[in-house]
């Protein structure tokens, strides 16, 4: 499947959106326009991280509220989108750290004895997502940033606050674990 088939990721990695940088726009207008332009992509990002639509929407709402409150403190309002994306990721981490969403609302785990079969059925994408949701939080986050947002090692490292080397080893471990769960090899 083409990476663009469901392409919602690119708008989250492009430069921050001219709408947010207009000098004449009020804070409310700027945040509202940014929300209108990017909420879908950000909710999708949070959703693949958390596995819960409600939690994803809450995290994004909270992130935009934070942006709204801190608008005056942004040194460079053209960085508003990276700021809010970082807030969404932090919100997801907070939720995941406490095990609140995702894993409990995700589909049931893949029974080990049927893992190979699951990778071969028509529902293989859902099987892959189930397996992804069984990964440790850090591994899942690294995979989402790499394979959904297509971020580089350095960008993922900056977002996650880890080294690029650790990014690579984390993704390596995650793919190995997925391969194990799905009965394929990376």
């Amino acid at each position: 499947m083409s990476a663009k088939a469901h392409g919602s990721a690119p708008e989250l990695t492009a430069g921050s959106g001219a709408a947010a940088s207009g000098c004449a726009a009020s804070r409310e207008e700027a945040v509202a326009v940014l929300y209108q332009a990017h909420a879908l992509g950000l909710v999708r990002l949070a959703y693949v991280m958390l596995g819960s639509r409600q939690a994803a929407e809450d995290v994004v709402q909270e992130a935009f509220l934070g942006l709204y409150r801190n608008w005056g403190r942004l040194a460079d309002t053209s960085r508003a989108l990276p700021y809010v994306r970082s807030s969404v990721l932090n919100g997801c981490r907070s939720v995941l750290r406490r095990g609140r969403a995702g894993r409990t609302s995700a589909p049931p785990d893949i029974p080990a004895e049927s893992a190979e079969a699951a990778a071969l059925t028509a529902d293989e994408h859902r099987a892959v997502m189930r397996a992804i949701r069984r990964l440790p939080d850090r591994q899942r986050e690294a995979l989402v940033l790499r394979f959904y947002l297509d971020l580089s090692d350095a960008q993922i490292a900056a977002d996650m606050g880890i080294s690029a080397g650790t990014v690579r080893s984390t993704i390596y471990r995650a793919l190995a674990a997925l391969g194990q769960m799905l009965g394929t090899s990376s």
Binding site: R79, R103, S163, R168
Partner: protein, 369 residues
């Protein structure tokens, strides 16, 4: 690109597409606070659950277990082929302080062993210290780099600060720590926000500096090291999904039932029957989230933390002990099988990190000593 990566990419994008355009609720700003929907309050960091003990318990547990780890390292060393190097250059170092450096290198080596090949929650916590050391040194190196470019240095972050964010209760729960601290939380991870300075151009400079700093440590975590660590994690995953471990899940559920399973105050019903240790861990933590969501006082949160930490340890102990027993045995076998490669990998890592410590050990802005 290989097949698994393609599958992951397309699966994530397909899952994301479940959120359709037009289905997003409108932004509710209210008066910058009043407009927050009640459920959104749950996304606030759980500061009430972070006690001061979470800041000191990892080194305590690490100290207790270090001797056992060193034994394991020596066991690995015993499998080294005759004539192979015995360790880092410190073995021939007769300068003043050589003993101290050798001790530090031995400790670092044992931490690195657990970083790459954890079999227990305690080992995972010890390994996090090595990871924290690397991150802290990278941070320090990047800080010096941005200072040279005219920016202020970000606040210094210690190895322990990094290590705190790395605990993994779902895969390597550290029951000893939880029992001792009565805390399920481990403290916040360090994120990109920690480098925010507000200065224009800072972030780009920081990322460039971090990339340069990363090159120093890249050999520690790539290629053969990554492959060995990945092979080990596959073994752990297989053990935790094994039929032998799954036989312990009904017992875990029975224990949880004594404390109300599957009632969940947070509202997400757990899967029934319990399928994994992760289900149990999420259910326990859900009680604390539920209380926090309802606005429980710090005193009440403290009481609940003690209660649920005790339940967590009581119910989890049998299955965690089983997992750890199997993982410890598997690790022994794994290290025996890959001893020479592991020793070479540890020796190289210690050499790189020790060199970086001498160069970057005191970050700008920190008080030496």
């Amino acid at each position: 690109m290989n097949t698994l990566e393609d599958l992951v990419r397309s699966s994530i994008r397909q899952a994301a597409a479940e959120i359709t355009p037009g289905s997003i609720p409108p932004l509710s700003l209210g008066d910058a606070g009043a407009g927050v929907r009640p459920a959104a309050a749950a996304t606030r960091p759980a500061r009430a659950r972070r006690g001061r003990w979470s800041r000191v318990i990892i080194p305590l547990s690490a100290a207790v277990a270090v001797s056992a780890v060193i034994t394991a390292v020596l066991a690995v060393a015993a499998t080294r082929p005759a004539g192979a190097p015995a360790g880092g250059s410190h073995t021939a170092d007769s300068r003043p302080g050589a003993d101290r450096r050798a001790d530090a290198a031995a400790t670092l080596r044992s931490q690195l062993l657990d970083d790459f090949f954890p079999a227990t929650g305690t080992q995972f916590a010890i390994g996090a210290l090595a990871e924290g050391t690397i991150q802290s040194l990278e941070w320090s190196a990047a800080s010096r780099c941005v200072v040279r470019q005219g920016f202020h240095a970000p606040r210094p972050l210690s190895a322990l600060a990094w290590a705190r964010g790395l605990a993994d209760n779902s895969q390597f729960p550290d029951l000893a720590r939880i029992a001792q601290t009565h805390q399920l939380g481990t403290g916040a991870s360090i994120t990109g926000n920690d480098v925010a300075s507000g200065a224009r151009g800072f972030l780009a400079a920081w990322q460039g500096c971090q990339k340069a700093a990363d090159r120093v440590f890249r050999p520690v975590q790539q290629d053969s090291s990554g492959r060995l660590a990945s092979a080990w994690m596959s073994i752990v995953t297989r053990i935790q999904a094994s039929a032998q471990v799954r036989t312990a899940v009904p017992g875990l559920q029975a224990c949880a039932s004594r404390y109300g399973w599957p009632a969940n105050p947070f509202g997400y019903p757990p899967s029934r029957p319990m399928r994994s240790f992760g289900d149990f861990a999420n259910w326990v933590v859900g009680h604390l989230d539920g209380a926090e969501l309802r606005g429980a006082s710090p005193a009440e949160m403290s009481r609940l933390n003690r209660k649920w930490a005790r339940i967590f340890v009581t119910c989890a102990r049998p299955i965690v002990m089983l997992q750890e027993r199997l993982q410890v045995a598997a690790r022994r076998s794994f290290l025996r099988q890959h001893g020479p490669q592991v020793m070479a990998m540890l020796t190289q890592a210690v050499r790189i990190i020790s060199r970086a410590e001498r160069r970057y050990g005191v970050p700008p802005g920190a008080t030496p000593g």
